[in-house]
Symmetry: C2
Amino acid sequence: MQLKKKPVTGMKDILPKEMEIRNYVLGVMKETYRRFGFVSMETPCVEHLENLNSKQGGENEKLIFKILKRGEKLKMDEAKEENDLVDCGLRYDLTVPLCRYYANHSAELPSPFKALQTGNVWRADRPQRGRYRQFMQCDIDVIGEASCIAEIDLILATSAFLGEINFKKFTIRINDRRILKAMAAYSGFAPESFDTVFIILDKMDKIGIEGVAAELEKEGFDRANIATYLNLFQNIEPTAEGIRYLKKELEGCLEPEVADNLENIIYQVEKAKQADFGLVFDPTLVRGMSYYTGPIFEITMDEFGGSVGGGGRYDEMIGKFTGQSTPACGFSIGFERIVMLLLEHDFSVPRIYGKRAYLVDKNITKEALESLMSKVMIERSKGMEISVDTMKKNKKFQKEQLAAEGYSEIVEIFAD
Amino acid sequence: MQLKKKPVTGMKDILPKEMEIRNYVLGVMKETYRRFGFVSMETPCVEHLENLNSKQGGENEKLIFKILKRGEKLKMDEAKEENDLVDCGLRYDLTVPLCRYYANHSAELPSPFKALQTGNVWRADRPQRGRYRQFMQCDIDVIGEASCIAEIDLILATSAFLGEINFKKFTIRINDRRILKAMAAYSGFAPESFDTVFIILDKMDKIGIEGVAAELEKEGFDRANIATYLNLFQNIEPTAEGIRYLKKELEGCLEPEVADNLENIIYQVEKAKQADFGLVFDPTLVRGMSYYTGPIFEITMDEFGGSVGGGGRYDEMIGKFTGQSTPACGFSIGFERIVMLLLEHDFSVPRIYGKRAYLVDKNITKEALESLMSKVMIERSKGMEISVDTMKKNKKFQKEQLAAEGYSEIVEIFAD
């Protein structure tokens, strides 16, 4: 009997070379966020279907891997619909489990709770190059901090982490959902059409301002409103200057504190940041999830424009589940994309210790092996990476293979 | 709408205190095995049902969480049995995925392949105290090393790891499946009854030699055979001496090389070991899985007798799947039990850097916050763990909570 050799559709085996990079990135991440006061937490990969279907997951709710009921609970004959057959599913993100976790344990957790959660999530997406159905997510959240210290610390920590793994020239774009809304309100759009407007605005970087205008018109919005709206964007500097401009321009539609708060975040991050990145006010930044209530942010690599992380403030989400209003703000790191970029750039994990291999004659005496092993154990206890292998007939190939794995020293040990 | 707050039945949320210990143990594990030349690998948590049901999983195959087919593939009306509804499942161990992985990638992997795989597995067991339906497994395997260097290195590495996390007074019991079989053959049992005999022998530590005798009789085995068999055990020293005794006694039933090999493993480990543990030859050690072909071992904590790891050689398993005979030997670490023991002993993770919290007045000026944040960023870049939090009305409680989290220094920052 033979096993199916390939992994299940859309999932992947991870080879040692990639694992070394993944472990390195995770290690740097844990170490960096530790310095900012973050602690680790974990939730099960399996979650209640009721929670997964709580409407916080957006489109992801259609992509759930559902788990069959077991034993007597599975009643195939009586089942009328899919949901009669299943009782739980694999999580598609870490946010829903975080909310459940916080609701379940808030009395045992510090306040604010600064949480780092890393773990796999699953989405039954159409498989495509570079996108898998199981992938690692890394979320950092501050729960219980209402002030902009949360945003400042999240941005500083996340940029410090990217700096530590030697990412340079990235840009953090920042906006505020309340500014987004104020701009739409100012332009005459009705609140119930905001989501439609924002979905179109979100395409600005792809289709340009004319494209946005055309799509808004196609949706039947008033031409005057569209003109007012898009005209606003023309005059905004991507800096604190732009925020101050909007604070004045949107008077009556925007609480001045919202603009001051965003300006302060930019100011403090610019002053305290240590990594090499730009911080830009981007009034076209939307972030898909409707649960955001305040500042939102996204990190893009200048080189290829793709996002390697993003997040924002979601002050109302936790309260929805716990009944107690709790401010929250978080970041999601694009772990898989970061690993992919490092692999593409042939990144080598910094190595402190050397690698040495001993090739041992298969007829080695008891005494010779004893003397080798005690030497090897001392070298290992000093941190060196020592492999002891039986010498093969094709010694040349064996040595080449070891060299390719980074064994810079290869020592042959003969029978006695 | 409220979330279900509790995790799904039988699974658990992990609080920061336990996470700190888990991360520490995993870190020490990765670092220790690295020194022995092990590399990390990963397989998806979701596996083909055909592979999970390949008869290598024993009883675990009854405990699979199965995943419902999706979209058009799910044909509820036509489904006759459970397996028509599902197309994959959550892995219940790391061995089946390892074999698939090796079969899929052997050309890209070094030989021998020294693999460290850590990850969650799932078993739909009856929930009980301390046993969960999702738990972490840590497997270390050497694939492609036929000599006892594999066993020696696995035992040395695993005991070094336990020593590093400060486990003392543990015992590694060792046996060989071929000695088990030779003892049974010598006593007159038929090969087809070996498994039944071994299942009963495995209870020796619980029911004693009389209990084993009674159960063997109950199974209808010949009294003379039982007497010969149990008499053998009476005369075996738990050392190399015992192995030499059996080598002589079982002449004709046991290849002498098997005894020499086991004696050499014990000799080499005793000479090279650095951690504080005993190595014992235990002819009653069975290890459940029938795929073992050579030496088998188990680590027990003297204190409470429970196992914290075990493994053995399984030279025929990989070949079954790949068609190419490949020697293999591995260890499974009882990660969850190790973490439980550390928690029970109030283990504190060694801390290099101090923890300091700044409590910030909510009306802090822009300038005061700026000067604080730049100071904080320097402290963080030195490795210190710094939390910056808004000062609460109930400052006394806030400080107590921070102290409980290990913040030994708490600094108050006023408005300007």
